[in-house]
C-alpha cells in the first residue's frame, strides 16, 4: 500500500519535474514558477469543475488555461532575459511565483478547497490482495499514460529530435534552420500544461491550497537534482525514488517525514555528486 502510494506520488512528480527538467535543459532556466503553474492547474480545475459540473472537462480545460499563462510568462518575461546569467531567471521566476501565490489568495482566498472525486472513480478497488482507492489508481494509470505519450513525443517524432538536440546545443540547432525562440516558447507551454495536468488531477486527492505550489516545487527541484540536471531519464528515476521516500517517510518517520526527502537526496549526492544519470559532457 505504501509502495503503491509512493508510486502514485512518484508518477505525479514525473509530470511536474519532467517539464521542469526539459525547460532547464533547453532554456537554461531554473523555473521557480513551475510550482505556481501546478497550483494554478489545481485552482483552475476546481473552479472549472464547479462551473461546468464536469471534472473531466475541467481536467481538459485547466491545462489549456495554464498553457496560456505559460505562454505569457515565456514570451513577455523570460524572452528578454535569455543570454543573461541564470540568477536573473531564478529571481524573475521566484518573483512570478510570489505574484501567483498572492493572486491566488486574492481570487480564491486562504481557504482549502476540496475537489469532488468524479462519481465513477469513488470507492475502492481490490487487486493483488490489497484494497486501494479507485481515484489513486486512476491517477497512477493516468500519469503513466501521459508520461508514455511524452516519451513517444520525445523519442519518436521530429519535434522530439529538435527538443533533444536543443538540450545539447542551441546554437547548432539554430544554424540548422530551427527557429529556436519558437521552440523555447513551445517547450515552456508544454511544461506548463504538464504541471497543470498534475495539479488538476491530484486536486480531488490532495485538496487545493495556496502553499501547494511551493510544496511541489521543492520536491520537483530535489527530483531534478538527484536525477541529474537536464536528464529526462534521470528525472523519471529520481521522481520514482522520491515518491517512495516521501511515502515511506510519512509512514515510518511520522512527524519527521519531510526529513526523508533530504536524507535520500544527501545519500544519493554523496555517492553520485552530479545526480544518478550524470551527463558526461
Amino acid at each position: 500500500m505504501t509502495v503503491l502510494n509512493g508510486l502514485t506520488m512518484g508518477m505525479v512528480l514525473v509530470l511536474v519535474a519532467g517539464g521542469l527538467s526539459i525547460i532547464f535543459g533547453m532554456l537554461d532556466v531554473l523555473n521557480f514558477a513551475h510550482g505556481s503553474l501546478y497550483m494554478l492547474g489545481g485552482y483552475l480545475g476546481y473552479t472549472l469543475s464547479i462551473a461546468t459540473g464536469s471534472f473531466w472537462l475541467a481536467l481538459l480545460l485547466a491545462p489549456v488555461g495554464v498553457a496560456m499563462v505559460g505562454f505569457f510568462i515565456e514570451f513577455f518575461t523570460l524572452r528578454p532575459l535569455y543570454g543573461r546569467p541564470p540568477l536573473h531567471h531564478l529571481l524573475l521566476t521566484f518573483g512570478i511565483s510570489l505574484i501567483a501565490q498572492n493572486a491566488v489568495k486574492f481570487i480564491w482566498g486562504n481557504d482549502i478547497y476540496s475537489v469532488e472525486t468524479p462519481e465513477s472513480l469513488t470507492g475502492i478497488v481490490e487487486f493483488l490482495g490489497i484494497a486501494y482507492p479507485t481515484y489513486r489508481l486512476f491517477i497512477l494509470l493516468f500519469s503513466i499514460g501521459i508520461a508514455i505519450l511524452m516519451w513517444l513525443l520525445i523519442t519518436k517524432t521530429r519535434y522530439g529530435i529538435v527538443v533533444r538536440a536543443g538540450t545539447e546545443d542551441i546554437e547548432t540547432l539554430e544554424a540548422h534552420g530551427i527557429d529556436t525562440r519558437k521552440v523555447f516558447t513551445g517547450v515552456f507551454i508544454l511544461g506548463s500544461a504538464l504541471a497543470a495536468i498534475a495539479g488538476a488531477a491530484v486536486a480531488p486527492m490532495r485538496t487545493v491550497y495556496p502553499q501547494m505550489g511551493i510544496d511541489i516545487i521543492i520536491d520537483a527541484f530535489v527530483v531534478v537534482i538527484i536525477g541529474g540536471l537536464g536528464s529526462i531519464r534521470g528525472t523519471v528515476i529520481g521522481a520514482l525514488i522520491l515518491g517512495q521516500a516521501i511515502q515511506m517517510g510519512a509512514v515510518f518517520l511520522t512527524g519527521f517525514a519531510d526529513a526523508a526527502i533530504y536524507i535520500v537526496m544527501a545519500g544519493i549526492l554523496l555517492f553520485k555528486p552530479s545526480g544518478l544519470v550524470a551527463e558526461s559532457n
Binding site: A165, A175, H176
Partner: protein
Amino acid sequence: MMSVEDVHTYYGPSHVLHGIDLLLEKGDVISVMGRNGAGKTTLMRTIMGLTPARQGTVGFDGRDITRLKPHDIFRLGIRLVPQGRNVFPKLTVEENLRLALVAQKSADPRSELEKAYDRFPILGQRRQQKVKGLSGGERQMLAIARGLLGKTRILLMDEPSEGLAPLIIRELHDTILEIKTEDITIFLAEQNVKMALSVCDRHYILEKGEIRFTGTTEEMSANKDIMIQTLGVSA
C-alpha cells in the same frame, strides 16, 4: 551570388574582423586560409548569422542578409559545417540527419537520407548508433552529409581536416572534390594549405582579421613569400 562587404565583427569588445571583402559566384570553390585566431571561424559565423557583423553587409542573391537569424539564413540554402565536427553526440546518426530536414518541408526525407547513405556508406551502417561512439572522421562525414541534405546552395566548411589522420584527410579531400562536381558553391576555411590548394580554385589569406592576399591557385603557388609570411608554410 554571395558578397561580403567591409565586414567588421566583434566578440564583445574585441574587434576580430577588420573590414573583410569577399565575392563568391555560383559554383565557385574558394578557400580562406589563415593561422589560428586569424578570424576564419568568425568569418564563417558572421556569414551564418551566429555572430552578426557590427558594420558592413553580407549579401546573398542581391539581398542583404547581414542581420537575418541563422535559421532564416539556413533556409536560403546556406549551410555551415561547423568547426570541431559539431554534431549532436546524444542523437543517433539518422536523427542528426533528420534534424537538418525538419526546416526543409519540401524535401523528401527518405530519398534525401538514402542519398546521404549512398555518399557515405559508413553512415548508413551506423544510422541507428549514437554519434558519441563515432570516430572523428565519421563525425566529419556526418557533419558534411548533414550540410548537403536538401537544397544546399553554399556549403561553408570550417576547418574540416582539423585533427584528422592523414588517411582520413585524403578521403575528405576526395569527398570535397566530388561535391565540387555537383554544382554546389563551397567556401572552405583551412589551415591545411595543401588541402586548400588542391581542392579550391581561388584563395583568400586572412591575417589578424584582414585579407592579406587573394588569388588563384597558380598565383598562390607563384607567390611563396606571402604564404611563408602569413601562414608559415609553403606548398
